[in-house]
Symmetry: C3
Subunit: 136 residues, 3 copies
């Protein structure tokens, strides 16, 4: 079994943003030469995350970020953390810091509308993402 790790760079431009990294993950899979297996996409930051969602209509991303803002408001008089980004930490734990995608015949097994997104919750920042490809 092969195990290959690779690091991606992501630059975000707003406080909250979802950046489609599917193409970079696909490139890592091709480079690793794995035909059957899986890939883990891991975010090493605590105010960001990784998710899979629709990439057809950009309004979906807008609405997902909006719904997260409303479920976890940035301003909360009971928050104690001095950096003022406790909402971002909470969203990170809700969305999660990694996703796994299966690989079949050298390609990502994703649904028609699925893309892998890096989720920025406290940007803009320069971020990185770790990709591990495993398989045969």
């Amino acid at each position: 079994m092969k195990i290959a790790q690779r690091e991606l760079r992501v630059s975000t431009r707003s406080r909250t943003e979802m950046v489609d990294v599917t193409g970079q993950v696909e490139a890592a899979v091709r480079e690793a030469g794995v035909q059957d297996g899986d890939v883990i996409v891991f975010c090493p930051h605590t105010t960001a995350g990784i998710t899979i969602n629709e990439n057809a209509d950009p309004d979906v991303v807008h609405d997902v970020l909006l719904a997260l803002d409303e479920a976890v408001p940035r301003s909360n008089s009971r928050f104690r953390h001095a950096e003022g980004n406790s909402d971002a930490h909470t969203k990170s734990s809700l969305v999660g810091c990694s996703e796994q995608v299966l690989i079949r015949e050298g390609r990502l097994v994703l649904g028609t509308w699925q893309a892998v997104y890096f989720c920025e919750f406290d940007g803009p920042r320069s971020r990185h993402v770790i990709v591990q490809v495993r398989g045969e």
Copy 2:
């Protein structure tokens, strides 16, 4: 190491619903003949997800779906996506589109009350779930 993929079919009957797929996942593990390893249960849809929760009292599922509805209301005048299912996309990212379960001595390593659920957030629809069994 063995890697076996299999596709399950799930038909949902309501807009939101949690369908217990544990038996089908167990069947895939038996068929793959894996004794030690893990199984990934992946949902290729962007308005649905996979979770693990209690299967003893059906009221738990009712309450989880209700609490998600209240945390992410369907109706929001600021949503832009024309299909009117942005709540479902958001729940998909919150609950997540996959779960992994360990396998020991050919059986799923689940707690006493745990079951694997397909979560429908924009049904009723005909859906599918991808199961990958890995191990030895």
Copy 3:
């Protein structure tokens, strides 16, 4: 490829609490002698979960638990489950019952501020966590 499973014990002291288990996960990785691979940290309970978040300022944990309480209030007249812990079941599905962390050169690949937490949502209780280390 090696696969090693191990069980950790966690005792919680409040209804909601996040317990840093990073050191115990690192010990399991060392014991398994895996240099490259990954570790799955799995919670076999339906009113608890596993997440990765900041371990530098304890106020972050306070604020994450508070924001979860507000997004999913404990008291809800429409909840049906008689045990009164439907909020805990919901948080379990939102945060998720497992995390995966990559291993490189025998060490966990975590960001500077990241720690692995057991999340108690219905304590205090005596809990356990299953750790599976895989790799070479």
